[in-house]
Amino acid sequence: MSQLFFEQLLNGLQLGMFLFLVSAGLTLVFGFMNIINLAHGSLFMIGAYAVAVLTDLTGSFFLGLLLSFPVVAAFALVIELLIIRPLYHRDHLDQVLATFGLILFFNEAVSIVFGRTPLFLNVPEALSGAVQITETFTYPLYRITIIAVGLMVAAVLWFIIVKTRTGMRIRAGTTNPEMIRALGVNIQALNTTIFVVGALFAGLAGGLSAPLTSVEVGMGENLLILSFVCIVIGGIGSIRGALLGALTVGLVDTLGRAFLPDILEQFLDPATANGVGAALSSMSVYLLMIIVLVFKPTGLFPVIKAV
Protein backbone atom coordinates (compact mmCIF):
# COMPACT_ATOMS: atom_id res chain seq x y z
CA MET A 1 0.00 0.00 0.00
CA SER A 2 2.64 2.53 0.94
CA GLN A 3 4.64 1.56 -2.11
CA LEU A 4 1.62 2.12 -4.33
CA PHE A 5 1.12 5.43 -2.60
CA PHE A 6 4.71 6.44 -3.24
CA GLU A 7 4.41 5.53 -6.89
CA GLN A 8 1.22 7.54 -7.28
CA LEU A 9 2.88 10.42 -5.47
CA LEU A 10 5.63 10.45 -8.08
CA ASN A 11 3.05 10.18 -10.87
CA GLY A 12 1.26 13.15 -9.40
CA LEU A 13 4.50 15.08 -9.21
CA GLN A 14 5.19 14.29 -12.84
CA LEU A 15 1.75 15.47 -13.95
CA GLY A 16 2.34 18.55 -11.82
CA MET A 17 5.54 19.29 -13.74
CA PHE A 18 3.77 19.09 -17.09
CA LEU A 19 1.11 21.39 -15.74
CA PHE A 20 3.74 23.77 -14.45
CA LEU A 21 5.47 23.98 -17.82
CA VAL A 22 2.18 24.86 -19.49
CA SER A 23 0.96 27.15 -16.69
CA ALA A 24 4.19 29.12 -16.48
CA GLY A 25 3.80 30.54 -19.98
CA LEU A 26 0.09 31.06 -19.55
CA THR A 27 0.47 32.99 -16.33
CA LEU A 28 3.40 35.09 -17.58
CA VAL A 29 1.59 36.04 -20.75
CA PHE A 30 -1.52 36.92 -18.84
CA GLY A 31 0.24 38.66 -15.98
CA PHE A 32 2.54 40.75 -18.12
CA MET A 33 0.66 41.21 -21.37
CA ASN A 34 -2.90 40.92 -20.02
CA ILE A 35 -3.61 38.37 -22.75
CA ILE A 36 -5.58 35.20 -22.29
CA ASN A 37 -4.26 32.73 -24.83
CA LEU A 38 -6.26 29.55 -25.45
CA ALA A 39 -3.90 28.56 -28.26
CA HIS A 40 -1.28 27.83 -25.62
CA GLY A 41 -2.55 24.24 -25.72
CA SER A 42 -1.93 24.19 -29.47
CA LEU A 43 1.71 25.07 -28.84
CA PHE A 44 1.89 22.03 -26.56
CA MET A 45 0.54 19.94 -29.44
CA ILE A 46 2.92 21.52 -31.95
CA GLY A 47 5.82 20.70 -29.64
CA ALA A 48 4.75 17.07 -29.44
CA TYR A 49 4.31 16.70 -33.20
CA ALA A 50 7.59 18.49 -33.87
CA VAL A 51 9.45 16.12 -31.58
CA ALA A 52 7.73 13.08 -33.07
CA VAL A 53 8.58 14.10 -36.63
CA LEU A 54 12.11 15.29 -35.90
CA THR A 55 12.92 12.20 -33.86
CA ASP A 56 11.79 10.12 -36.78
CA LEU A 57 13.98 12.14 -39.16
CA THR A 58 17.11 12.31 -37.05
CA GLY A 59 16.78 8.98 -35.31
CA SER A 60 17.48 10.62 -31.97
CA PHE A 61 14.91 11.80 -29.44
CA PHE A 62 17.33 14.30 -27.93
CA LEU A 63 18.20 15.80 -31.27
CA GLY A 64 14.51 15.86 -32.10
CA LEU A 65 13.73 17.65 -28.86
CA LEU A 66 16.50 20.16 -29.43
CA LEU A 67 15.42 20.86 -33.00
CA SER A 68 11.80 21.23 -31.93
CA PHE A 69 12.63 24.43 -30.04
CA PRO A 70 13.22 26.60 -33.12
CA VAL A 71 10.11 25.11 -34.71
CA VAL A 72 7.92 25.98 -31.73
CA ALA A 73 9.58 29.37 -31.41
CA ALA A 74 8.86 30.11 -35.06
CA PHE A 75 5.19 29.22 -34.66
CA ALA A 76 4.98 31.30 -31.49
CA LEU A 77 6.62 34.27 -33.18
CA VAL A 78 4.20 34.21 -36.09
CA ILE A 79 1.21 33.85 -33.74
CA GLU A 80 2.43 36.73 -31.61
CA LEU A 81 3.07 39.09 -34.50
CA LEU A 82 -0.03 38.23 -36.50
CA ILE A 83 -2.74 37.53 -33.95
CA ILE A 84 -1.71 38.42 -30.42
CA ARG A 85 -0.28 41.85 -31.07
CA PRO A 86 -3.52 43.33 -32.42
CA LEU A 87 -5.26 41.90 -29.36
CA TYR A 88 -3.20 43.69 -26.70
CA HIS A 89 -5.76 46.38 -26.13
CA ARG A 90 -8.85 44.36 -26.90
CA ASP A 91 -11.11 42.93 -24.23
CA HIS A 92 -10.82 39.38 -23.01
CA LEU A 93 -13.79 38.24 -25.07
CA ASP A 94 -11.94 39.10 -28.28
CA GLN A 95 -8.81 37.35 -27.07
CA VAL A 96 -10.73 34.22 -26.15
CA LEU A 97 -12.49 34.06 -29.51
CA ALA A 98 -9.48 34.83 -31.68
CA THR A 99 -7.29 32.30 -29.92
CA PHE A 100 -10.16 29.80 -30.05
CA GLY A 101 -10.11 30.37 -33.81
CA LEU A 102 -6.40 29.52 -33.71
CA ILE A 103 -7.19 26.23 -31.99
CA LEU A 104 -9.73 25.33 -34.68
CA PHE A 105 -7.16 26.14 -37.32
CA PHE A 106 -4.28 24.22 -35.77
CA ASN A 107 -6.39 21.17 -34.94
CA GLU A 108 -7.65 20.87 -38.49
CA ALA A 109 -4.31 21.75 -40.04
CA VAL A 110 -2.58 19.04 -38.02
CA SER A 111 -5.20 16.46 -38.91
CA ILE A 112 -4.86 17.38 -42.60
CA VAL A 113 -1.10 16.88 -42.45
CA PHE A 114 -0.88 13.91 -40.09
CA GLY A 115 -4.35 12.39 -40.28
CA ARG A 116 -6.47 11.39 -37.33
CA THR A 117 -4.37 8.39 -36.37
CA PRO A 118 -2.17 9.17 -33.37
CA LEU A 119 1.62 8.98 -33.64
CA PHE A 120 3.56 6.97 -31.11
CA LEU A 121 7.07 7.50 -29.90
CA ASN A 122 9.31 5.24 -27.86
CA VAL A 123 11.00 6.38 -24.72
CA PRO A 124 14.62 7.09 -25.72
CA GLU A 125 17.03 4.21 -25.09
CA ALA A 126 19.20 6.15 -22.66
CA LEU A 127 16.22 6.96 -20.43
CA SER A 128 14.25 3.76 -20.84
CA GLY A 129 15.37 1.99 -17.68
CA ALA A 130 13.96 2.12 -14.21
CA VAL A 131 15.52 3.49 -11.09
CA GLN A 132 15.79 1.28 -8.03
CA ILE A 133 14.44 3.54 -5.30
CA THR A 134 14.10 1.05 -2.49
CA GLU A 135 14.87 -2.66 -2.54
CA THR A 136 11.45 -3.53 -3.86
CA PHE A 137 10.41 -0.33 -5.54
CA THR A 138 11.47 0.90 -8.95
CA TYR A 139 10.29 3.91 -10.93
CA PRO A 140 10.80 4.68 -14.64
CA LEU A 141 13.88 6.80 -15.29
CA TYR A 142 12.10 8.80 -17.99
CA ARG A 143 9.42 9.99 -15.60
CA ILE A 144 12.04 10.96 -13.06
CA THR A 145 13.81 12.93 -15.78
CA ILE A 146 10.60 14.84 -16.44
CA ILE A 147 10.31 15.75 -12.77
CA ALA A 148 13.92 16.90 -12.82
CA VAL A 149 13.41 19.00 -15.95
CA GLY A 150 10.37 20.62 -14.40
CA LEU A 151 12.29 21.50 -11.25
CA MET A 152 15.16 22.87 -13.33
CA VAL A 153 12.83 25.10 -15.33
CA ALA A 154 11.28 26.32 -12.11
CA ALA A 155 14.73 27.13 -10.70
CA VAL A 156 15.85 28.93 -13.86
CA LEU A 157 12.63 30.92 -13.99
CA TRP A 158 12.98 31.83 -10.35
CA PHE A 159 16.51 33.03 -11.02
CA ILE A 160 15.52 35.09 -14.03
CA ILE A 161 12.56 36.70 -12.36
CA VAL A 162 14.10 37.40 -8.99
CA LYS A 163 17.73 38.09 -9.86
CA THR A 164 17.95 39.65 -13.31
CA ARG A 165 17.11 43.06 -14.70
CA THR A 166 14.69 41.54 -17.22
CA GLY A 167 13.00 39.72 -14.38
CA MET A 168 12.65 42.95 -12.49
CA ARG A 169 10.99 44.51 -15.52
CA ILE A 170 8.64 41.57 -15.84
CA ARG A 171 7.64 41.87 -12.20
CA ALA A 172 7.22 45.61 -12.53
CA GLY A 173 5.17 45.21 -15.68
CA THR A 174 2.93 42.66 -14.01
CA THR A 175 2.07 44.86 -11.06
CA ASN A 176 2.25 48.22 -12.75
CA PRO A 177 2.05 48.33 -16.55
CA GLU A 178 2.08 52.14 -16.66
CA MET A 179 5.37 52.38 -14.85
CA ILE A 180 7.20 50.03 -17.17
CA ARG A 181 6.07 52.14 -20.12
CA ALA A 182 7.22 55.26 -18.37
CA LEU A 183 10.65 53.71 -17.86
CA GLY A 184 11.03 53.53 -21.61
CA VAL A 185 11.54 49.79 -21.74
CA ASN A 186 10.98 48.37 -25.21
CA ILE A 187 7.75 46.76 -24.21
CA GLN A 188 7.01 45.30 -27.62
CA ALA A 189 10.22 43.30 -27.67
CA LEU A 190 9.72 42.18 -24.10
CA ASN A 191 6.16 41.08 -24.87
CA THR A 192 7.29 39.03 -27.83
CA THR A 193 10.11 37.47 -25.84
CA ILE A 194 7.83 36.49 -23.00
CA PHE A 195 5.31 35.01 -25.40
CA VAL A 196 7.93 32.97 -27.22
CA VAL A 197 9.57 31.76 -24.01
CA GLY A 198 6.19 30.77 -22.59
CA ALA A 199 5.47 28.92 -25.84
CA LEU A 200 8.80 27.12 -25.59
CA PHE A 201 7.88 25.80 -22.14
CA ALA A 202 4.57 24.53 -23.48
CA GLY A 203 6.34 23.03 -26.50
CA LEU A 204 8.90 21.40 -24.21
CA ALA A 205 6.10 19.89 -22.16
CA GLY A 206 4.48 18.60 -25.34
CA GLY A 207 7.76 17.15 -26.58
CA LEU A 208 8.48 15.44 -23.28
CA SER A 209 5.01 13.98 -23.15
CA ALA A 210 5.28 12.53 -26.66
CA PRO A 211 6.85 9.20 -25.56
CA LEU A 212 4.30 8.81 -22.75
CA THR A 213 1.01 9.47 -24.53
CA SER A 214 -0.30 9.23 -28.05
CA VAL A 215 0.53 12.29 -30.09
CA GLU A 216 -2.84 13.36 -31.46
CA VAL A 217 -5.04 16.28 -32.43
CA GLY A 218 -6.34 18.27 -29.47
CA MET A 219 -3.91 16.63 -27.04
CA GLY A 220 -3.06 19.93 -25.37
CA GLU A 221 -6.58 21.05 -24.65
CA ASN A 222 -7.26 19.08 -21.52
CA LEU A 223 -3.93 20.13 -20.10
CA LEU A 224 -4.69 23.73 -21.03
CA ILE A 225 -7.91 23.74 -19.04
CA LEU A 226 -6.20 22.03 -16.11
CA SER A 227 -3.54 24.74 -16.35
CA PHE A 228 -6.24 27.35 -16.03
CA VAL A 229 -7.28 25.63 -12.83
CA CYS A 230 -3.64 25.72 -11.65
CA ILE A 231 -3.13 29.40 -12.24
CA VAL A 232 -6.52 30.31 -10.85
CA ILE A 233 -5.64 28.41 -7.69
CA GLY A 234 -2.17 29.91 -7.57
CA GLY A 235 -3.15 33.45 -8.49
CA ILE A 236 -2.87 34.68 -12.07
CA GLY A 237 0.44 36.31 -12.95
CA SER A 238 2.46 34.58 -10.25
CA ILE A 239 5.08 31.98 -11.20
CA ARG A 240 5.25 30.81 -7.62
CA GLY A 241 1.45 30.44 -7.69
CA ALA A 242 1.65 28.52 -10.97
CA LEU A 243 4.17 26.07 -9.51
CA LEU A 244 2.21 25.56 -6.33
CA GLY A 245 -1.07 25.28 -8.23
CA ALA A 246 0.42 22.81 -10.71
CA LEU A 247 1.84 20.56 -8.02
CA THR A 248 -1.39 20.65 -6.04
CA VAL A 249 -3.53 19.89 -9.06
CA GLY A 250 -1.17 17.14 -10.24
CA LEU A 251 -1.17 15.43 -6.86
CA VAL A 252 -4.88 15.83 -6.13
CA ASP A 253 -5.86 14.54 -9.55
CA THR A 254 -3.53 11.53 -9.50
CA LEU A 255 -4.05 10.53 -5.88
CA GLY A 256 -7.78 11.13 -6.13
CA ARG A 257 -8.12 8.80 -9.09
CA ALA A 258 -5.95 6.18 -7.44
CA PHE A 259 -7.38 6.12 -3.96
CA LEU A 260 -10.79 7.79 -3.75
CA PRO A 261 -12.77 4.68 -4.80
CA ASP A 262 -10.88 2.57 -2.20
CA ILE A 263 -11.44 5.13 0.51
CA LEU A 264 -15.13 5.39 -0.31
CA GLU A 265 -15.44 1.63 -0.14
CA GLN A 266 -14.91 1.91 3.59
CA PHE A 267 -18.23 3.70 3.84
CA LEU A 268 -20.28 2.60 0.84
CA ASP A 269 -21.04 -0.65 -0.94
CA PRO A 270 -18.49 -1.47 -3.67
CA ALA A 271 -20.67 -0.65 -6.68
CA THR A 272 -21.73 2.74 -5.33
CA ALA A 273 -18.20 3.46 -4.11
CA ASN A 274 -16.83 2.81 -7.56
CA GLY A 275 -19.39 5.00 -9.28
CA VAL A 276 -19.19 7.86 -6.80
CA GLY A 277 -15.41 7.48 -6.59
CA ALA A 278 -15.01 7.75 -10.34
CA ALA A 279 -17.28 10.79 -10.50
CA LEU A 280 -15.67 12.50 -7.53
CA SER A 281 -12.09 11.85 -8.58
CA SER A 282 -12.69 13.18 -12.08
CA MET A 283 -14.06 16.35 -10.52
CA SER A 284 -11.60 16.59 -7.63
CA VAL A 285 -9.35 19.33 -9.01
CA TYR A 286 -12.34 21.45 -9.93
CA LEU A 287 -13.77 20.98 -6.46
CA LEU A 288 -10.40 22.03 -5.09
CA MET A 289 -10.48 25.15 -7.21
CA ILE A 290 -13.95 25.98 -5.94
CA ILE A 291 -12.83 25.63 -2.34
CA VAL A 292 -9.85 27.90 -2.93
CA LEU A 293 -12.01 30.50 -4.63
CA VAL A 294 -14.61 30.52 -1.91
CA PHE A 295 -11.92 31.56 0.54
CA LYS A 296 -9.56 33.46 -1.75
CA PRO A 297 -11.32 34.74 -4.90
CA THR A 298 -8.02 35.86 -6.45
CA GLY A 299 -6.04 32.70 -5.73
CA LEU A 300 -3.45 31.81 -3.15
CA PHE A 301 -0.71 34.18 -4.36
CA PRO A 302 -2.56 37.08 -5.92
CA VAL A 303 -0.51 39.63 -7.80
CA ILE A 304 -1.58 43.01 -6.49
CA LYS A 305 -2.08 45.39 -9.35
CA ALA A 306 -1.11 48.96 -8.77
CA VAL A 307 -4.05 51.22 -9.63
Binding site: F30, I36, I83, P86, L87, R90, H92, L93, D94, V96, L97, A98, F100, G101, L102, I103, L104, F105, F106, N107, E108, A109, S111, I112, E221, I225, F228, V229, I231, V232, I236, G275, A278, A279, S282, M283, Y286, L287, M289, I290, L293, V294, P297, T298
Partner: protein, 333 residues
Amino acid sequence: MLSEKHLPAFYALGALLLVVLPWILTAANSSYLISTATRLVIFAIGAVSLDLLIGYTGLVSFGHAAFFGVGAYVVGILAFHNFEDTTVLGFDGTLTGLIVLPLAIVISALFALIIGALALRTKGVYFIMITLSFGQMLFFLFVSLEAYGGDDGMMMFEGRNVLPVIDLNDRITFYYFCLAIFAAFFAFCHRLVRSKFGRVLAAIRQNEDRMTSIGIRPYSAKLLIYVIAGAGAGLAGALMANHTEFVSPGLTHWTKSGDLMIVVILGGIGTLIGPVMGAFVFLLLEEFLPIIFHELGMDLLKEHWRVVFGPILILIVLFAKTGLYGLIFRKNG
Protein backbone atom coordinates in the same frame (compact mmCIF):
# COMPACT_ATOMS: atom_id res chain seq x y z
CA MET B 1 -27.96 49.29 -44.76
CA LEU B 2 -31.08 49.28 -42.64
CA SER B 3 -31.65 51.32 -39.53
CA GLU B 4 -32.92 49.89 -36.26
CA LYS B 5 -36.31 51.36 -37.14
CA HIS B 6 -36.66 48.47 -39.55
CA LEU B 7 -36.16 45.84 -36.86
CA PRO B 8 -39.86 44.97 -36.42
CA ALA B 9 -40.19 44.39 -40.16
CA PHE B 10 -37.02 42.31 -40.07
CA TYR B 11 -38.42 40.22 -37.19
CA ALA B 12 -41.68 39.70 -39.07
CA LEU B 13 -39.85 38.64 -42.22
CA GLY B 14 -37.62 36.26 -40.28
CA ALA B 15 -40.60 34.77 -38.47
CA LEU B 16 -42.43 34.28 -41.75
CA LEU B 17 -39.41 32.60 -43.29
CA LEU B 18 -39.08 30.21 -40.35
CA VAL B 19 -42.79 29.39 -40.48
CA VAL B 20 -42.84 28.56 -44.18
CA LEU B 21 -39.41 26.94 -44.19
CA PRO B 22 -40.67 23.32 -44.06
CA TRP B 23 -42.86 23.94 -47.15
CA ILE B 24 -39.99 25.53 -49.03
CA LEU B 25 -37.68 22.68 -48.16
CA THR B 26 -40.26 20.06 -49.06
CA ALA B 27 -41.02 21.83 -52.33
CA ALA B 28 -37.30 22.02 -53.08
CA ASN B 29 -37.03 18.32 -52.51
CA SER B 30 -34.66 18.94 -49.61
CA SER B 31 -36.86 17.91 -46.72
CA TYR B 32 -33.81 16.28 -45.09
CA LEU B 33 -32.81 19.86 -44.26
CA ILE B 34 -35.78 20.16 -41.89
CA SER B 35 -33.57 18.44 -39.36
CA THR B 36 -30.94 21.16 -39.87
CA ALA B 37 -33.62 23.82 -39.51
CA THR B 38 -34.69 22.25 -36.22
CA ARG B 39 -31.10 22.33 -35.05
CA LEU B 40 -30.93 25.98 -36.06
CA VAL B 41 -33.93 26.88 -33.94
CA ILE B 42 -32.63 24.93 -30.93
CA PHE B 43 -29.13 26.33 -31.32
CA ALA B 44 -30.60 29.84 -31.53
CA ILE B 45 -32.25 29.40 -28.11
CA GLY B 46 -28.87 28.56 -26.63
CA ALA B 47 -27.16 31.46 -28.41
CA VAL B 48 -29.80 33.99 -27.36
CA SER B 49 -29.49 32.83 -23.75
CA LEU B 50 -25.72 33.31 -23.90
CA ASP B 51 -26.18 36.77 -25.38
CA LEU B 52 -28.02 37.76 -22.19
CA LEU B 53 -24.75 37.15 -20.36
CA ILE B 54 -22.09 38.25 -22.84
CA GLY B 55 -23.88 41.00 -24.69
CA TYR B 56 -26.18 42.49 -22.12
CA THR B 57 -24.38 41.97 -18.82
CA GLY B 58 -20.77 41.79 -19.95
CA LEU B 59 -20.25 38.35 -18.42
CA VAL B 60 -17.98 36.28 -20.64
CA SER B 61 -19.23 32.84 -19.69
CA PHE B 62 -17.16 30.11 -21.30
CA GLY B 63 -19.06 27.17 -19.87
CA HIS B 64 -22.51 27.67 -21.28
CA ALA B 65 -22.66 24.26 -22.95
CA ALA B 66 -22.67 22.74 -19.46
CA PHE B 67 -26.28 23.84 -18.93
CA PHE B 68 -27.15 22.64 -22.40
CA GLY B 69 -25.79 19.26 -21.30
CA VAL B 70 -27.68 19.27 -18.00
CA GLY B 71 -30.97 19.85 -19.80
CA ALA B 72 -30.18 17.08 -22.27
CA TYR B 73 -29.18 14.63 -19.55
CA VAL B 74 -32.38 15.25 -17.60
CA VAL B 75 -34.30 14.16 -20.71
CA GLY B 76 -31.92 11.28 -21.39
CA ILE B 77 -31.79 9.93 -17.85
CA LEU B 78 -35.57 9.99 -17.41
CA ALA B 79 -36.01 8.27 -20.78
CA PHE B 80 -33.40 5.67 -19.81
CA HIS B 81 -35.16 4.78 -16.56
CA ASN B 82 -38.50 4.70 -18.31
CA PHE B 83 -37.07 2.16 -20.75
CA GLU B 84 -35.40 0.10 -18.04
CA ASP B 85 -38.39 0.47 -15.74
CA THR B 86 -36.13 1.53 -12.89
CA THR B 87 -36.01 4.57 -10.64
CA VAL B 88 -33.59 7.46 -10.27
CA LEU B 89 -33.27 9.01 -6.81
CA GLY B 90 -36.57 7.34 -5.97
CA PHE B 91 -38.46 8.67 -9.00
CA ASP B 92 -39.71 6.64 -11.92
CA GLY B 93 -38.36 7.42 -15.34
CA THR B 94 -40.75 9.10 -17.72
CA LEU B 95 -41.21 10.37 -21.25
CA THR B 96 -44.06 12.70 -20.33
CA GLY B 97 -43.04 16.00 -21.85
CA LEU B 98 -45.10 18.08 -19.45
CA ILE B 99 -42.96 16.70 -16.63
CA VAL B 100 -39.63 16.26 -18.39
CA LEU B 101 -39.27 19.65 -20.08
CA PRO B 102 -40.13 21.82 -17.05
CA LEU B 103 -37.91 19.61 -14.93
CA ALA B 104 -35.03 20.08 -17.38
CA ILE B 105 -35.45 23.84 -17.07
CA VAL B 106 -35.63 23.77 -13.27
CA ILE B 107 -32.63 21.49 -12.84
CA SER B 108 -30.44 23.49 -15.25
CA ALA B 109 -31.50 26.63 -13.40
CA LEU B 110 -30.45 24.96 -10.17
CA PHE B 111 -27.04 24.08 -11.61
CA ALA B 112 -26.70 27.65 -12.85
CA LEU B 113 -27.60 28.93 -9.40
CA ILE B 114 -24.87 26.87 -7.72
CA ILE B 115 -22.22 27.47 -10.37
CA GLY B 116 -23.15 31.13 -10.70
CA ALA B 117 -23.11 31.70 -6.95
CA LEU B 118 -19.48 30.54 -6.89
CA ALA B 119 -18.21 31.82 -10.24
CA LEU B 120 -19.70 35.29 -9.84
CA ARG B 121 -17.52 35.87 -6.80
CA THR B 122 -14.81 36.49 -9.36
CA LYS B 123 -14.48 38.91 -12.25
CA GLY B 124 -12.84 39.34 -15.61
CA VAL B 125 -10.45 36.69 -16.74
CA TYR B 126 -10.96 34.66 -13.57
CA PHE B 127 -14.63 34.41 -14.45
CA ILE B 128 -13.80 33.17 -17.95
CA MET B 129 -11.46 30.50 -16.64
CA ILE B 130 -13.78 29.41 -13.86
CA THR B 131 -16.83 29.03 -16.04
CA LEU B 132 -14.63 27.07 -18.44
CA SER B 133 -13.51 24.84 -15.58
CA PHE B 134 -17.04 24.27 -14.32
CA GLY B 135 -18.05 23.26 -17.82
CA GLN B 136 -15.18 20.81 -17.95
CA MET B 137 -16.10 19.50 -14.51
CA LEU B 138 -19.61 18.64 -15.67
CA PHE B 139 -18.17 17.10 -18.82
CA PHE B 140 -16.07 14.73 -16.72
CA LEU B 141 -18.99 14.11 -14.41
CA PHE B 142 -21.08 12.92 -17.36
CA VAL B 143 -18.17 10.85 -18.67
CA SER B 144 -17.94 9.12 -15.30
CA LEU B 145 -21.63 8.16 -15.31
CA GLU B 146 -21.03 4.59 -16.48
CA ALA B 147 -24.68 3.69 -15.88
CA TYR B 148 -25.63 6.20 -18.57
CA GLY B 149 -23.10 5.08 -21.10
CA GLY B 150 -20.09 7.02 -19.84
CA ASP B 151 -18.08 8.37 -22.74
CA ASP B 152 -20.46 7.00 -25.34
CA GLY B 153 -23.65 8.47 -23.95
CA MET B 154 -27.04 6.85 -24.38
CA MET B 155 -29.80 6.46 -26.93
CA MET B 156 -33.44 7.24 -26.25
CA PHE B 157 -34.76 3.90 -27.45
CA GLU B 158 -38.41 4.79 -27.04
CA GLY B 159 -38.19 7.97 -29.07
CA ARG B 160 -38.97 11.54 -28.11
CA ASN B 161 -40.96 12.89 -25.19
CA VAL B 162 -44.71 12.51 -25.29
CA LEU B 163 -47.12 15.43 -25.19
CA PRO B 164 -50.91 15.53 -25.34
CA VAL B 165 -52.20 16.17 -28.89
CA ILE B 166 -48.77 17.05 -30.32
CA ASP B 167 -46.74 14.20 -31.77
CA LEU B 168 -43.09 15.14 -31.33
CA ASN B 169 -41.92 12.10 -33.27
CA ASP B 170 -43.30 13.69 -36.40
CA ARG B 171 -40.44 15.61 -37.99
CA ILE B 172 -42.38 18.66 -39.07
CA THR B 173 -44.47 18.84 -35.90
CA PHE B 174 -41.29 18.72 -33.86
CA TYR B 175 -39.82 21.56 -35.91
CA TYR B 176 -42.85 23.72 -35.21
CA PHE B 177 -42.79 22.77 -31.55
CA CYS B 178 -39.18 23.94 -31.26
CA LEU B 179 -39.94 27.05 -33.29
CA ALA B 180 -42.81 27.95 -30.94
CA ILE B 181 -40.57 27.53 -27.90
CA PHE B 182 -37.88 29.58 -29.57
CA ALA B 183 -40.35 32.34 -30.36
CA ALA B 184 -41.61 32.40 -26.79
CA PHE B 185 -38.09 32.47 -25.38
CA PHE B 186 -37.00 35.17 -27.80
CA ALA B 187 -40.01 37.31 -26.90
CA PHE B 188 -39.24 36.80 -23.21
CA CYS B 189 -35.62 37.88 -23.64
CA HIS B 190 -36.62 40.80 -25.84
CA ARG B 191 -38.89 42.01 -23.09
CA LEU B 192 -36.32 41.30 -20.38
CA VAL B 193 -33.49 43.32 -21.88
CA ARG B 194 -35.80 46.32 -22.26
CA SER B 195 -37.21 45.95 -18.76
CA LYS B 196 -36.14 47.77 -15.62
CA PHE B 197 -34.05 44.75 -14.72
CA GLY B 198 -32.50 44.88 -18.18
CA ARG B 199 -31.53 48.48 -17.53
CA VAL B 200 -29.78 47.39 -14.35
CA LEU B 201 -27.86 44.76 -16.33
CA ALA B 202 -26.77 47.35 -18.88
CA ALA B 203 -25.63 49.63 -16.08
CA ILE B 204 -23.62 46.81 -14.52
CA ARG B 205 -21.94 46.12 -17.86
CA GLN B 206 -20.93 49.75 -18.24
CA ASN B 207 -20.01 50.75 -14.71
CA GLU B 208 -20.28 47.97 -12.16
CA ASP B 209 -18.41 49.84 -9.42
CA ARG B 210 -21.00 52.59 -9.36
CA MET B 211 -23.88 50.22 -8.54
CA THR B 212 -23.22 49.82 -4.83
CA SER B 213 -23.42 53.55 -4.25
CA ILE B 214 -26.90 53.72 -5.75
CA GLY B 215 -28.07 50.80 -3.66
CA ILE B 216 -27.77 47.95 -6.15
CA ARG B 217 -25.86 44.76 -5.39
CA PRO B 218 -24.42 43.69 -8.76
CA TYR B 219 -23.87 40.13 -7.54
CA SER B 220 -27.61 39.48 -7.06
CA ALA B 221 -28.54 40.90 -10.45
CA LYS B 222 -25.77 38.95 -12.17
CA LEU B 223 -26.81 35.77 -10.42
CA LEU B 224 -30.41 36.16 -11.53
CA ILE B 225 -29.49 36.65 -15.18
CA TYR B 226 -27.01 33.77 -14.95
CA VAL B 227 -29.79 31.49 -13.71
CA ILE B 228 -32.18 32.68 -16.43
CA ALA B 229 -29.54 32.12 -19.11
CA GLY B 230 -28.67 28.71 -17.67
CA ALA B 231 -32.33 27.71 -17.69
CA GLY B 232 -32.60 28.85 -21.32
CA ALA B 233 -29.59 26.77 -22.32
CA GLY B 234 -31.02 23.81 -20.39
CA LEU B 235 -34.27 24.15 -22.32
CA ALA B 236 -32.32 24.14 -25.58
CA GLY B 237 -30.40 21.05 -24.41
CA ALA B 238 -33.63 19.24 -23.55
CA LEU B 239 -34.94 19.96 -27.06
CA MET B 240 -31.66 18.84 -28.61
CA ALA B 241 -31.82 15.55 -26.72
CA ASN B 242 -35.31 15.05 -28.12
CA HIS B 243 -34.15 16.03 -31.57
CA THR B 244 -31.27 13.58 -31.82
CA GLU B 245 -32.75 11.01 -29.40
CA PHE B 246 -29.23 10.69 -28.13
CA VAL B 247 -27.37 12.22 -25.20
CA SER B 248 -23.62 12.19 -24.64
CA PRO B 249 -20.95 14.11 -22.72
CA GLY B 250 -19.87 15.59 -26.06
CA LEU B 251 -22.75 18.07 -25.70
CA THR B 252 -20.96 19.72 -22.78
CA HIS B 253 -17.48 19.64 -24.29
CA TRP B 254 -15.74 22.98 -23.92
CA THR B 255 -15.52 23.43 -27.67
CA LYS B 256 -19.35 23.47 -27.72
CA SER B 257 -19.22 26.41 -25.32
CA GLY B 258 -16.75 27.94 -27.76
CA ASP B 259 -19.13 27.31 -30.66
CA LEU B 260 -21.92 29.09 -28.79
CA MET B 261 -19.66 32.06 -28.16
CA ILE B 262 -18.69 32.12 -31.82
CA VAL B 263 -22.33 32.17 -32.84
CA VAL B 264 -23.03 35.08 -30.51
CA ILE B 265 -20.10 37.18 -31.72
CA LEU B 266 -20.58 36.21 -35.35
CA GLY B 267 -24.14 37.55 -35.17
CA GLY B 268 -23.36 40.59 -33.05
CA ILE B 269 -23.39 40.72 -29.26
CA GLY B 270 -26.07 42.47 -27.28
CA THR B 271 -28.66 42.34 -30.05
CA LEU B 272 -30.58 39.02 -29.50
CA ILE B 273 -31.48 38.80 -33.18
CA GLY B 274 -27.77 38.86 -34.05
CA PRO B 275 -27.03 35.53 -32.35
CA VAL B 276 -30.02 34.02 -34.18
CA MET B 277 -28.49 35.11 -37.47
CA GLY B 278 -25.16 33.87 -36.17
CA ALA B 279 -26.65 30.43 -35.51
CA PHE B 280 -28.14 30.48 -38.99
CA VAL B 281 -24.84 31.30 -40.68
CA PHE B 282 -22.88 28.90 -38.48
CA LEU B 283 -25.10 25.95 -39.37
CA LEU B 284 -25.15 27.03 -42.98
CA LEU B 285 -21.36 26.97 -43.06
CA GLU B 286 -21.28 23.66 -41.26
CA GLU B 287 -23.81 22.19 -43.69
CA PHE B 288 -22.64 23.71 -46.93
CA LEU B 289 -18.93 24.52 -46.64
CA PRO B 290 -18.08 20.82 -47.02
CA ILE B 291 -20.35 20.59 -50.07
CA ILE B 292 -18.91 23.75 -51.57
CA PHE B 293 -15.37 22.53 -51.08
CA HIS B 294 -16.38 19.23 -52.62
CA GLU B 295 -17.85 20.98 -55.65
CA LEU B 296 -14.69 23.03 -55.97
CA GLY B 297 -12.74 19.81 -56.08
CA MET B 298 -11.07 20.60 -52.75
CA ASP B 299 -11.96 17.38 -51.03
CA LEU B 300 -9.21 17.85 -48.46
CA LEU B 301 -11.02 20.93 -47.12
CA LYS B 302 -14.38 19.21 -47.29
CA GLU B 303 -13.71 17.21 -44.17
CA HIS B 304 -11.59 19.90 -42.59
CA TRP B 305 -13.72 22.97 -43.18
CA ARG B 306 -12.79 24.29 -39.76
CA VAL B 307 -9.30 24.99 -41.02
CA VAL B 308 -10.93 27.77 -43.01
CA PHE B 309 -13.45 28.66 -40.34
CA GLY B 310 -10.79 29.31 -37.68
CA PRO B 311 -9.10 32.12 -39.61
CA ILE B 312 -12.50 33.52 -40.63
CA LEU B 313 -13.36 33.73 -36.95
CA ILE B 314 -10.10 35.50 -36.19
CA LEU B 315 -10.75 38.01 -38.96
CA ILE B 316 -14.25 38.67 -37.67
CA VAL B 317 -12.94 39.28 -34.17
CA LEU B 318 -10.17 41.56 -35.38
CA PHE B 319 -12.03 43.53 -38.00
CA ALA B 320 -15.80 43.10 -37.79
CA LYS B 321 -16.62 43.30 -34.13
CA THR B 322 -20.25 44.29 -34.64
CA GLY B 323 -20.96 41.02 -36.43
CA LEU B 324 -23.71 40.35 -38.94
CA TYR B 325 -26.02 42.68 -37.06
CA GLY B 326 -23.61 45.54 -37.61
CA LEU B 327 -23.43 44.71 -41.32
CA ILE B 328 -27.17 44.93 -41.70
CA PHE B 329 -28.23 47.59 -39.23
CA ARG B 330 -26.96 51.01 -38.43
CA LYS B 331 -27.22 51.57 -34.67
CA ASN B 332 -29.58 54.32 -33.53
CA GLY B 333 -28.13 57.27 -31.64
